[in-house]
């Protein structure tokens, strides 16, 4: 191929007039105070690695009217189950999901029919932090909390030049438990000018630890806003916003004993087992951690465990997964554990395989057990 052909091909990749209109109109709406802003500020901590996880099966069972009361609406929408009451109910029944505050209930947005006794909330300096919902399996989890900024604070909305010198607000938050955690998160949703929803995904740094009955702590010491000038931030409040709660987590998982060696890029990788729940998956394999393996890992866009195969469709993990290697294996190889946390709820029953790099590892003819 000639370079000229490369250029001619790209000449044809252009935006049409309709797309121009959509984009400019979208920008115009946001400029005039539109409220459908996406995550601008995103904090990442310890992206490095993580865990071994696993968890449960999503056997879609009978639904119930109470399903709409057991998930926060924003969380249900974010995980793609807002119209699937049976799934919400199932995950709540099995302990994977726990809704902690009553208002803004999935399926009945804005009402206040939830169990108020579970509300976890703290107010300081005119800012209220409320934990709304948690999702967790044995080894990974998710929390959603909302922050309400008092009227004395500038509006947090983006794109409000006329009304404020500030951009989006964000808290300096620490999530801890009695073991070392890897976590990442940020703004999930701007609810209104003074209210923002935040989320964190987390997992223990040691893949042999689990979350069974863990006490979790969310501690915020300060809040910031981003000024319009690029790259500048301003601390708007210092105080103590601390919440502690016992984490509810589901334990059910589907375990595939693969025990198969697969050649990938000339390397023999022995897959031991694959564990999966609606929230995460984990693969355990043996490989020689040499230069070639590291090159392969580099090519894979970390971690090696990529998308899942569900029938003919693919299911994308959220990248919050991890990689653990230092366990000694056999024949000079190392046991490696990789985990993927999902950003949508997986219907485990549809799973037919997973991608390791570009290689599809089929699970179709492999027997599995269901563990609680």
């Amino acid at each position: 191929m000639k370079p000229e052909e490369f250029r001619q091909m790209y000449d044809l990749v252009t935006l049409d007039d309709e797309a121009d209109c959509r984009i400019l109109s979208g920008i115009g709406k946001m400029k005039t105070g539109g409220k459908n802003m996406r995550n601008r500020r995103y904090q990442k901590k310890y992206v490095k690695a993580a865990v071994a996880a696993a968890v449960a099966i999503l056997a879609v069972g009978s639904g119930g009217y109470a399903a709409s009361l057991v998930w926060n609406a924003n969380v249900a929408e974010r995980f793609g189950v807002e119209d699937q009451k049976e799934i919400m109910q199932e995950l709540s029944d099995k302990g994977f999901s726990k809704k902690l505050a009553g208002e803004n209930t999935a399926g009945s947005r804005g009402d206040s029919t939830g169990d108020k006794s579970d509300v976890l909330s703290v107010t300081d300096k005119g800012i209220t932090v409320t934990l709304r919902q948690t999702l967790a399996d044995e080894n990974c989890g998710y929390i959603y909390y909302e922050v309400e900024y008092g009227e004395e604070y500038a509006p947090v909305m983006e794109g409000t030049d006329e009304r404020s010198d500030y951009g989006i607000a964000w808290p300096e938050a620490k999530l801890t438990t009695d073991r070392v955690l890897n976590y990442s998160g940020g703004i999930m949703k701007v609810i209104n000018d003074h209210k923002v929803g935040y989320e964190y995904f987390f997992s223990p740094a040691d893949h042999e630890k689990t979350f069974q009955d863990n006490v979790m702590n969310l501690k915020i010491k300060s809040f910031y806003m981003e000024t319009k000038k690029a790259g500048t931030e301003e601390r708007i409040a210092e105080g103590d916003w601390s919440l502690s709660w016992k984490l509810s987590n589901g334990n059910q998982k589907r375990v595939y004993q693969i025990d198969k060696t697969v050649k990938i890029d000339g390397m023999d990788i022995h897959f031991e087992k694959f564990e999966v729940s609606p929230l995460s998956c984990r693969v355990v394999y043996l490989a020689v951690e040499d230069k070639k393996f590291m090159e392969l890992s580099g090519k894979m866009e970390e971690p090696g465990l990529g998308m899942l195969r569900c029938g003919k469709k693919t299911f994308q993990g959220n990248g919050g997964g991890g990689y653990m290697s230092p366990t000694s294996g056999k024949n000079g190889k190392t046991y490696i554990v990789e985990q993927k946390v999902f950003d949508k709820i997986l219907d485990v029953g549809t799973l037919t395989g997973f991608y390791f790099g570009n290689k599809l590892i089929s699970l179709e003819n492999i027997e599995y057990t269901v563990e609680d």
Binding site: K2, P3, M9, Y10, I23, E301, G319
Partner: protein, 166 residues
């Protein structure tokens, strides 16, 4: 920034940034979303640049970073509509060009931006290295890899390479 000035910049850079976005995210809708995000960043951060060229480079860098983040981000949506190996190409192209575009979309992410910036926009390795925060040798390695994957014919395109400083 005035509306008029913003629209001027939008029309000046939209195709360039859209091509970069599309190359990473491989579908029109996400590429349009990314483009919108990039221009919102320009609008609200309103950075001041020494020249249009600096502004262009900033926009390219922001687009590449946002596209990369998008592709492997925790926020990436469930790709349930993506059939393996099938990428919808909305433009009218002959089969050779379609095949080439598919090959470009299949390049490793690391190679995509450098290939486009070098072979389409005509930036030198040195310029690309500054723009993307890479070493010059890393840019050369990525070009080499991209060339070999796309089977770009060095002999027939020799002049082009020389003028671009490889």
């Amino acid at each position: 920034m005035s509306t008029q000035e913003f629209e001027r910049k939008y029309h000046l850079y939209k195709d360039l940034l859209y091509r970069i976005s599309f190359t990473y995210v491989k579908n029109q809708a996400d590429a349009e979303d990314l483009l919108q995000e990039v221009f919102l960043k320009l609008l609200y951060q309103a950075p001041v640049f020494e020249s249009d060229e600096y502004e262009k480079r900033w926009l390219i860098r922001v687009t590449v970073n946002m596209a990369k983040n998008f592709v492997k981000s925790i926020w990436v949506r469930q790709r349930d509509s993506l059939e393996e190996g099938e990428i919808a190409i909305p433009w009218s192209m002959d089969s050779d060009k379609q095949e080439l575009l598919n090959e470009v979309l299949d390049l490793p992410d690391k190679c995509k931006a450098v290939m486009y910036l070098h072979y389409y926009e005509g930036y030198t390795c040195k310029e690309i290295s500054k723009m993307l925060g890479l070493t010059e040798s890393a840019v050369k390695m990525r070009l080499k890899k991209g060339r070999s994957l796309l089977k770009i014919n060095l002999l027939e395109g020799g002049t082009f390479y020389e003028t671009r400083g490889i």
